[in-house]
């Protein structure tokens, strides 16, 4: 059985390491936050996924494919600059509640990757960052609107 399921085709989402639209190029993240996101979120929420050996072995490969593609669709830090401001705000609001209320990173992920676990301080700093950044984006947008109406 185990051998048989290895022959079921399962293509993992592709990875790219250099992404020009990455959130780290947006000026919205400090080094500290960027590192936290990289360690705890990037495996599913970016194109920089590091696939461990069991990603290539069914049935874990199926789970990996599902989680990574769903994760990227929900939020992809590698293509952050493609989001418009309203979307960015929505994503940040979700980050704040998902991380703040402990739903992310997912248990099944931290079980296999203990280094991705966030302690309370790290959780709090991600939440604080998300909230601050939302205010910042909203303010900048308001300034732009005022400028646009002045011209």
């Amino acid at each position: 059985m185990f051998v048989v399921i290895q022959f079921i085709p399962n293509e993992l989402p592709p990875t790219t390491q250099q992404n020009t639209g990455d959130i780290s190029t947006s000026g919205l993240v400090s080094k500290e936050i960027a590192d936290l996101l990289k360690t705890s979120c990037y495996s599913c929420h970016s194109n920089e996924t590091n696939y461990p050996w069991y990603s290539y072995v069914a049935p874990t490969s199926w789970l990996m494919k599902k989680d990574v593609s769903e994760g990227r669709e929900e939020l992809n830090f590698s293509t952050w600059l493609d989001y418009d401001t309203t979307k960015m705000l929505g994503k940040l609001d979700d980050i704040s509640s998902e991380v703040g209320e402990g739903r992310m990173p997912m248990k099944i992920y931290t079980l296999m990757h203990p280094s991705a676990k966030l302690d309370e301080t790290q959780r709090a700093s991600i939440v604080a960052w998300a909230e601050e950044t939302m205010d910042k984006i909203a303010e900048e947008e308001e300034e732009e609107e005022v400028e646009a109406s002045d011209n």
Binding site: T86, M88, G90, A138, E141, E142
Partner: protein
């Protein structure tokens, strides 16, 4: 002891017609309370609705066409008194107006995304209530507004 027996005897002696009138009275009372409560609900709703409009700036208020769709298709689950806990937690239209700009915009971004993916109203809900689906025009109205772009 003998008192109790007396009472039991009295109860047993109540003629059937009497019981019938008691039941009728009870039924009347029930109907009265029900209509009464409906009436009061109607009143309190009328009183509640204009309230937010007094507080908020015109910018924050929903455009009329958006509000019409929301009231018809979304508000049933997404309101402050909703029994649908998940729906209320994700989005509460009653709270939207009181939010600071960044949070309100974030909610709009999340609404835009949910609509793009066709996730709302939920499929399970529509199985029982197919008429609850958004028409193309309604969807366009909500999508246009939630995208945050000016017409």
């Amino acid at each position: 002891m003998s008192n109790e027996v007396d009472e039991l005897q009295k109860l047993a002696e109540i003629p059937f017609t009497n019981l019938n009138t008691i039941m009728k009275k009870l039924l009347f009372l029930a109907v009265l309370t029900l209509t009464g409560s409906l009436f009061f609900q109607g009143i309190s709703k009328q009183e509640q609705e204009p309230e937010p409009n007094l507080i908020l700036s015109t910018e924050a208020a929903l455009p009329d066409d958006v509000k019409a769709v929301v009231d018809k298709k979304c508000y049933g689950c997404h309101n402050a008194n909703s029994k649908n806990e998940k729906g209320k937690a994700k989005l509460d239209w009653d709270a939207l107006d009181g939010m600071k700009k960044s949070k309100r915009k974030a909610a709009m971004g999340e609404i835009a995304e949910v609509l793009e993916k066709g996730e709302m109203p939920p499929k399970k809900f529509l199985e029982n209530k197919p008429e609850g689906a958004l028409t193309e025009a309604e969807l366009a109205t909500l999508a246009q507004w939630s995208s945050g772009k000016k017409k």
